[in-house]
């Protein structure tokens, strides 16, 4: 396993776009939340912008911001890691040189898992630091109250990145894969959910579209506070529970990985 991760790392560390995307993530992740200092007067029932930074809600806000950054930066890294090699034809050359197709696929999968572990650790460290500096008289139990957010953050990263691999391996066109990843993630998924709810079946199941499931792992925290959900007739809770979202995300990850793996091991390269 380490051999395959090292191989991917050698490709990664020399590629400037990959480095830029990961640097942007590293810089943006801990800093965006401080933009919240600009907003002093929050609408009721929010107590004021300290809510962004103190335990336990820092886990939610930081997680929500992080989920967008994961979608844009890490998910795209996953797509690029596949389509770049399609464009350079090095995915064929890797096989010709001796990797089995399975190993090639595993190298990609192990790498996104490794990245997910790293960003999850980063998430935990950043949340703890921000919380410590903004919570008066905090205790260890304050700090880790709500720390189930940590495994959920890992699932978000795995979810978007396996979707990225899926788009890359299945479509295998650099422009088209990236376009599909973004458009599906930002528009089509929402459209499917709303259209299904309006015209097919108004049932809680429509919330299990892939992107919606992953978003509900770290929803916009306001939704938990206020019941001012958009004016639409839902016959169910707007958000999935954390358990539903977690299990749903695991199922989507497994499906994306399975389809991408099948596609890569059975088609001509």
């Amino acid at each position: 396993m380490m051999r395959l991760i090292k191989l991917e790392y050698t490709k990664f560390k020399n590629h400037s776009l990959m480095l830029i995307l990961s640097m942007l993530y590293v810089v943006f992740f801990p800093s965006i939340i401080f933009y919240g200092k600009e907003f002093n007067d929050l609408p009721d029932p929010l107590p004021g912008n300290i809510i962004f930074y103190k335990f336990p809600s820092v886990w939610d806000y930081q997680g929500y911001i992080g989920s967008w950054l994961v979608f844009f930066f890490l998910g795209l890294i996953a797509v690029f890691s596949v389509v770049n090699e399609v464009r350079y034809k090095t995915f064929r050359q890797n096989i010709i040189a001796g990797l089995t197709r399975k190993e090639y696929f595993l190298a990609k999968f192990y790498s996104i898992t490794a990245i997910s572990v790293l960003v999850t650790i980063y998430y935990a460290v950043v949340c703890l630091l921000i919380g410590m500096f903004h919570t008066k008289g905090w205790t260890i139990s304050d700090a880790f109250n709500n720390s189930w957010a940590i495994p959920r953050y890992f699932l978000i990263s795995m979810g978007y990145m396996t979707f990225g691999l899926f788009c890359g391996f299945l479509i295998r066109r650099s422009g088209l894969s990236i376009l599909f990843y973004l458009i599906y993630g930002l528009a089509i998924d929402v459209a499917i959910k709303w259209l299904a709810n309006s015209y097919v079946i108004s049932h809680g199941a429509v919330r299990f579209t892939p992107m919606n499931t992953m978003e509900d792992l770290m929803p916009l925290p306001f939704y938990r506070f206020v019941d001012l959900i958009p004016d639409i007739d839902f016959n169910f809770e707007f958000l999935l529970t954390y358990w539903e979202a977690s299990l749903g995300t695991i199922a989507w990850c497994a499906l994306f990985v399975y389809i991408a793996y099948r596609s890569f091991t059975t088609r001509d390269l």
Binding site: K6, N14, Y88, T90, Q93, I95, I96, A97, G98
Partner: protein, 296 residues
């Protein structure tokens, strides 16, 4: 030991049959040329045996299956164009290959020296000319002491200087005692480097064997005289002349191999014909190839 055994391989692209029940056996130490016109299935064959393409039916076995699905680690190949990471330099690209081949240590400088790229080892691959890319690809094939080398049209698209360089490197490699499989439609290239040939057309094997056996032992004699008509009538009457083709400036006759040039010329003098041009040569692979593929 059979390096490669291909059994009844078939592969279609839509309605086009690229490989049609192809069979092929390559023994260790052979320098094997796969010959065929463009579109005959050479690259498809190589693609299948390197697991880039999936065959519709049939099978292939590398090294009597002693390495399982790891066989490609023991094979150095170039398929079609040289494919490397454009943003990495020569050494970094070779490092990737080293990791894939699971080799502990490789002397990259020595390899790059062999293919005349030492002076550009720190330049990114994307800045290379086609000839340099091809030479880097050849260097990459040598990583990890491969037992077999596969070259697909190694001089395709190169300028004359590039062709000469690549050929001299290939000749050097062929001298290292490794098995080589080379696909080409340039017969001259195959004839110079290979010990064995397989000729394929429309995905079928037409002929295979040592170059000497494929080349018939008949001799071609070019002969001209002042009176060409008389010369032709005279030659047509001789039983050891098998075939006469009229070229622009001389007649080309296929004669039995026992006949040597001095016998041939003294025969002409005896008959009162003075040759103004007389050259005897072995048949070229090219002529044999055209003959075989014409009917295939």
């Amino acid at each position: 030991m059979a390096v490669l055994e291909v059994v009844n391989l078939s592969k279609s692209y839509g309605r086009i049959k690229a490989l049609d029940q192809l069979n092929l056996t390559i023994e260790a130490g052979n320098l094997y040329g796969i010959l065929g016109p463009n579109g005959s299935g050479k690259t498809t064959t190589l693609g299948v045996i390197l697991d880039i393409l999936k065959p519709d039916s049939g099978s292939y076995t590398w090294f009597d299956n002693q390495y399982g699905d790891k066989a490609r680690i023991k094979i150095g190949s170039i398929l079609e164009t040289p494919n490397f990471y454009p943003y990495m330099n020569a050494k970094q690209n070779l490092e990737i290959v080293r990791q894939i081949k699971q080799v502990d240590e490789v002397n990259f400088d020595e390899l790059l020296e062999l293919v005349n790229l030492a002076h550009r080892k720190r330049s990114r691959f994307r800045t290379y000319s086609l000839g340099m890319k091809q030479r880097l690809a050849i260097a990459a094939t040598l990583i990890g002491e491969p037992e077999v080398l596969i070259f697909d049209e190694p001089t395709n698209g190169l300028d004359p200087q590039g062709i000469a360089e690549v050929r001299s490197i290939l000749t050097r490699i062929a001298g290292m005692g490794k098995s080589v499989i080379m696909a080409s439609h340039i017969l001259d290239e195959v004839e110079k480097i290979c010990s064995h040939v397989a000729i394929i057309k429309k995905g079928r094997l037409l002929a295979t064997g040592p170059v000497g056996a494929i080349l018939s032992s008949d001799i071609t004699v070019e002969v001209a005289a002042d009176d060409m008509e008389r010369l032709q009538i005279l030659l047509e009457s001789k039983s050891f002349v098998n075939k006469i083709t009229k070229e622009k400036k001389w007649l080309e006759c296929l004669v039995d191999q026992e006949v040597n040039v001095s016998e041939f010329s003294s025969m002409l003098f005896r008959e009162g014909v003075t040759p103004t041009h007389l050259v005897a040569r072995k048949r070229r692979l090219e002529e044999e190839f055209l003959e075989i593929t014409k009917n295939g």
